[in-house]
């Protein structure tokens, strides 16, 4: 045979022939973590390409600059309108809170919108659900790109706060041993809240696009993001303590601005009345964040599974529900 001789293609074994070997049940078992990783990475790449591509200047401007910065500026102007002695201190408080909120909105919305997008716009939800990939993993992958956008927005907002709004940041005084676990716990919590919202959006109609932001807006009230909890009635302050995001924001504030005001404590706060101290200690923040975060995460996973089951039961996965 010469080197140029054509090679006949090998025909696949015929069904039922000895070479066919029959159906391999191992193919139904998947490959565990490798499958999860592949699903996650694929979904993350998709989320990046469709919704969060930083190389697209319009997307970058809208999600990482205009939206988070506008939120911060709303509060900054509110403070400036009223003025007073505590303006500068309160401005720093608000800038940090709203910068972190960019994470919250992006994290919650990314997951919830992935459900609505896939069901109503791309009509792909049922195909994703019936694929061998774990649906929750795919959703997490879709959401992670938006969280990254939220992170970028938070960084830009903080930078503008420090450079243009006089927020006093001393990089040398940042408490990294507190910041790192708190940020990690916070991100997990945000994802958990996002999963909860995704579970809701599986059930609701097409007009649910605004639900994630509505939920994030409502959480503004009890998390001490833009004002200290002490101005709220005591029972509402306790609700804030049960929210992991409250401890996350408090932890980040304490780590980045050790001398700044506390969102949980402060004069006249329920925390001060209950503990006799004006602000929680770092270890208390970490433990509280861990405890409430675990509860929310478990609730999110259970809620998501229940919602998915109900959606399958009622045939909601391939509906389009606009009006």
């Amino acid at each position: 045979m010469t080197a140029d001789a054509p090679v006949a293609p090998t025909a696949p074994p015929a069904l039922g022939s000895p070479e066919w070997g029959g159906f391999d049940p191992a193919r139904t078992r998947g490959r565990g973590l490798r499958d999860l990783r592949r699903s996650f990475m694929t979904a993350a790449r998709l989320g990046w390409q469709t919704e969060a591509n930083w190389t697209d200047p319009i997307l970058f401007f809208i999600y990482s600059v205009a939206k988070p910065l506008s939120t911060t500026l709303i509060f900054v102007v509110m403070i400036e309108v009223i003025g007073g002695a505590s303006t500068r201190e309160f401005r720093g408080f608000v800038v940090v809170g709203t910068a972190l909120w960019a994470f919250v909105i992006a994290g919650i919305a990314g997951l919830a919108w992935a459900v609505l997008d896939d069901r109503e716009r791309y009509r792909m939800l049922k195909y994703v659900v019936v694929s061998p990939s774990d649906f929750l993993t795919v959703l997490l992958g879709r959401g992670v790109a938006r969280i990254a956008v939220g992170g970028m927005g938070a960084a830009i907002t903080l930078s503008v706060g420090v450079l243009a709004l006089g927020v006093p940041l001393d990089a040398g005084r940042i408490d990294w041993p507190l910041l790192l676990p708190v940020m990690l716990g916070g991100l997990v919590t945000i994802v958990a809240v996002g999963i909860l919202l995704a579970a809701v959006c599986i059930q609701t109609r097409q007009e649910s696009w605004s639900y994630p932001e509505a939920a994030a807006g409502a959480l503004f009230l009890v998390t001490g993001a833009v004002f200290p909890l002490s101005v709220l009635p005591a029972p509402v302050q306790v609700v804030g303590w049960l929210t992991p995001l409250t401890w996350w924001i408090e932890g980040v504030r304490l780590a980045v601005f050790p001398a700044g005001p506390s969102g949980i404590g402060g004069t006249g706060s329920a925390f001060a009345a209950f503990t006799g101290r004006v602000r929680p200690e770092p270890h208390e923040i970490v433990v509280a964040l861990l405890g409430t975060g675990v509860l929310v995460t478990l609730a999110a996973i259970v809620g998501f599974r229940v919602s998915l089951h109900r959606a399958k039961d009622r045939g909601l996965l391939d509906q389009t529900t606009g009006s």
Binding site: I58, L59, I62, Y63, A66, K67, P68, S70, T71, L73, I74, F75, V77, M78, I79, E80, V81, I82, G84, S86, F90, V94, E120, R121, Y122, R123, V200, Q203, T204, R205, Q206, E207, S208, W209, S210, Y211, E213, A214, A215, G217, A218, F220, L221, V226, F227, P228, V231, L232, T320, T321, G322, S323
Partner: protein
């Protein structure tokens, strides 16, 4: 009726059936408004989660802004400003989510070609969406306004009730007129429209002075008053609803702002009509009415 389900209103010939009187045309367009509003109104009754997400949560968001002012020990009328802003947010969100991006959604759903193939004016379809949207949003706005007023003890001081009502309705007509313009634009832009909807949230809240007097923004505020119905309508309503407040200067008196709203309404509705006709012509020329996802 003939008793035969395949014959409803017999006509002598296709030519006779094709010629409609002005009254028929008008009635068809009015019925179209009612018909297109119907799914939105029914949708509210069908799926109750909106009560939680579109009424309770926005009320809590508004409350958060109220407590910011309380933390700053602001004068009481500022709480009223926030409450009014929170109520009007409902209409703005409805305009950008359920008007601006709606035609694009209708196209991807396959409805748009049926709309264009039917004998009514497409403007009537958009008006129907607007009316349905206003019913939805009004409930949310009313709840936020009433509950927040009671809970936070907002005191209104109104000298010119008629003008206040006129400004409110003019704000709605201008807002939904803008929504109709955006609907055509978004249809042309396609998928990017979704991101533009996002852009029209927080940045517009900021420049419209949703939670503070827009006059504080200086030139930016003036620009917003000239361009955004939300900004000018809200400013006029605040001046009228809190007549005794030490309102910051820098914005025109409410009478002038009402005129601005009239101009906006006329301009936006005319522009919307022109854009929809242009859109239909372009779409028929380029074959853009019927592309779907499937």
């Amino acid at each position: 009726m003939s008793g035969n389900p395949y014959v409803h209103r017999p006509t002598a010939s296709p030519q006779a059936a094709a010629e409609w009187t002005q009254r028929q045309i008008l009635m068809t367009n009015l019925r179209t408004v009612a018909g297109r509003a119907y799914p939105r109104v029914r949708g509210l009754a069908r799926e109750k989660s909106w009560l939680f997400f579109e009424i309770l949560l926005p009320f809590l968001t508004t409350s958060a802004f109220v407590f910011v002012y309380r933390a700053l020990q602001a004068p009481p009328e500022y709480v009223g400003f926030v409450v009014l802003g929170g109520a009007m947010t409902a209409f703005w969100l409805n305009v950008i989510w359920m008007m601006a991006s709606q035609l694009w959604w209708e196209k991807s759903q396959g409805n748009l070609e049926l709309y264009f193939a039917a004998p009514m004016d497409i403007v009537a379809v958009l008006l129907g969406m607007a009316v349905g949207g206003m019913v939805m949003s009004s409930s949310r706005a009313a709840v936020v306004l009433v509950v927040a007023t009671v809970v936070y003890g907002v005191t209104f001081a109104v000298d010119q009730w008629l003008l206040l009502l006129a400004v409110f309705f003019l704000t709605l007509t201008a807002l939904y007129g803008l929504g109709m313009v955006l609907a055509s634009l978004f249809l042309m832009w396609g998928r990017e429209a979704y991101h533009l909807t996002q852009f029209l949230q927080e940045p517009v809240y900021f420049v419209s002075g949703l939670n503070f007097p827009v006059g504080r923004l200086g030139m930016l505020g003036a620009l917003a008053i000239a361009l955004l119905p939300l900004a000018v309508g809200l400013d006029a309503m605040r001046q009228l609803a809190f007549a005794d407040a030490a309102y910051p200067v820098g914005t025109p008196p409410p009478e002038v702002e009402a005129l601005i709203l009239v101009v906006m309404t006329v301009v936006f509705l005319s522009l919307a009509r022109w854009m929809l006709r242009t859109l239909e012509r372009l779409a028929r020329r380029e074959g853009r009415l019927t592309i779907r996802w499937q």
